[in-house]
């Protein structure tokens, strides 16, 4: 199982480099931090909690193979009508894309078109996606949250401290790295208008910095730095900020999430709107990722203490 998880992580990194080759720098950014970073980490935690062994018995591999082959064959047959790779006259490039490509700089005034599409033209979709992430965070919390008693807390802290003294070199190196990771997250957050980046990537990178800290200094130490109720509050505030920007633009006489009315100058209004929206996205994504990691590792500690007591 360990090998499976590691290979999945490498696969994430490889597909990130593939996205760079396909000119999708923003996507590559996200995939590198999510696919190779956080998803591998969560899977490793789960494997650690559920055991590394597996029964080799598979059910009906031949039937499965047959189904897969038939579906794959049909799909390949379907591709014969598709436009060729890289052709500029494909239908996908002739519908709304020209407006995004050539008018967005006049209408939105943000050089990174991915950001202007994400936050402005398709702000409604993004709002939905932020809500989905928030809901997933609530779901994980509902499934894995544990009530911690103070005496357990103290016991876990003692175990953590004794364990983490071993990794002295890692601790020193990581301690110097973390400020730069967090600073980079802020750069990605606020420079998303001009270069690749934005709330989603910044949120994940910021969370990665915190998670790194929690990994090396123990969950209790990380919780002393960032209280979990505070993070939960932040994740809700992120969604709230996003929604309120939409409501404020309605109050100013525009439609929901139409930022042009936020300021006297439409372009300035768009800038302000996108900045606030990205802030909301970044807050929610970062805090949901931190909540998910905290819940996973708290559950794992809880299982360990329970196992220790029953022995």
């Amino acid at each position: 199982m360990f090998a499976v998880v590691m290979l999945a992580g490498i696969y994430g990194l490889v597909s990130a480099s593939f996205f760079v080759a396909m000119d999708a720098v923003d996507v590559a950014f996200t995939e590198a931090s999510v696919g190779a970073g956080i998803s591998t980490l969560l899977m490793l935690t789960t494997v650690a909690m559920t055991g590394r062994t597996e029964h080799v018995a598979r059910h009906k591999p031949l039937l499965a193979l047959l189904v897969v082959a038939i579906t794959g064959g049909l799909l390949i047959y379907g591709t014969f009508d598709m436009p060729y790779f890289g052709s500029a006259d494909a239908p996908a490039h002739n519908h709304v894309a020209p407006r995004y490509l050539y008018d967005s700089i006049k209408e939105i005034g943000v050089p990174n078109m991915v950001t202007s599409v994400l936050a402005s033209y398709r702000g409604f979709d993004t709002f939905g996606e932020v809500t989905v992430i928030f809901t997933a965070g609530i779901g994980v919390l509902a499934l894995l949250s544990v009530v911690r008693r103070p005496e357990d807390e103290a016991e876990m802290e003692a175990i953590n401290d004794s364990m983490h003294e071993k990794h002295l070199i890692l601790r020193v190196v990581i301690k110097t790295l973390i400020p730069f990771i967090l600073l980079y997250a802020f750069y990605v957050q606020f420079h998303g208008d001009y270069g690749p980046g934005g709330g989603f990537q910044a949120g994940v990178i910021f969370a990665a910095g915190i998670i790194l800290y929690a990994l090396l200094f123990g969950l209790s130490a990380a919780r002393r730095v960032i209280r979990q109720p505070f993070v939960q509050l932040l994740s809700a505030i992120g969604v709230l900020v996003y929604g309120s920007v939409g409501v404020v633009s309605m109050l100013n006489g525009g439609t929901f999430l139409d930022y042009s009315v936020l300021s006297a100058d439409p372009i300035a209004g768009q800038h302000l709107g996108i900045l606030l929206i990205e802030l909301g996205v970044g807050l929610t994504v970062a805090s949901v990722m931190i909540i998910i990691f905290f819940s996973f590792s708290a559950r794992s500690e809880y299982q360990q203490t329970k196992a220790g007591k029953s022995l």
């Binding site: 998880v5 999708a24 996200t30 696919g35 078109m113």
Partner: protein, 129 residues
């Protein structure tokens, strides 16, 4: 020959997608199923991004003097889909952990067997004959 060069991106996507699909249906281990689901998901990402690519285009960041860009719309869709994907994956893994706590195993067949056993026991209690 032209067709192979023109369509190979779709075929790679289909191969990846079928690998993911096979893992989902042929493996009983729940974490492996989630990994398979992730591979399936990534194949869809690759499909979208490769559709958005324009020959000779560049990354969609506006600059003086560049006229040909790749399509930014698929990038936006996939960018958000990746982050939503990790959130749902986390939810799946959380469910897996709870299943492991409840059943002591995360093998699909064993869980099914235990459920069947329990159902059989319940039936016996309800229908004394």
């Amino acid at each position: 020959m032209n067709m192979i060069l023109g369509l190979y991106n779709y075929w790679i996507v289909i191969v990846l997608m079928m690998i993911g699909f096979y893992i989902i249906i042929a493996h009983g281990h729940l974490i492996k199923k989630i990994v398979g689901l992730n591979i399936f998901q990534t194949s869809v990402f690759i499909f979208y991004i490769s559709v958005g690519k324009v020959e000779g285009g560049t990354a969609p960041i506006w600059q003086e003097g560049i006229v040909l860009f790749s399509n930014p719309l698929p990038h936006v869709l996939i960018l958000t889909a990746i982050v939503v994907g990790i959130a749902t994956t986390a939810l799946g893994l959380a469910l897996t952990i709870r299943l492991h706590e409840a059943y002591g195993t995360i093998d699909e067949d064993e869980i099914q067997a235990m459920d069947n056993q329990e159902m059989a026991n319940q039936d016996k209690e309800h229908q004394p004959c």
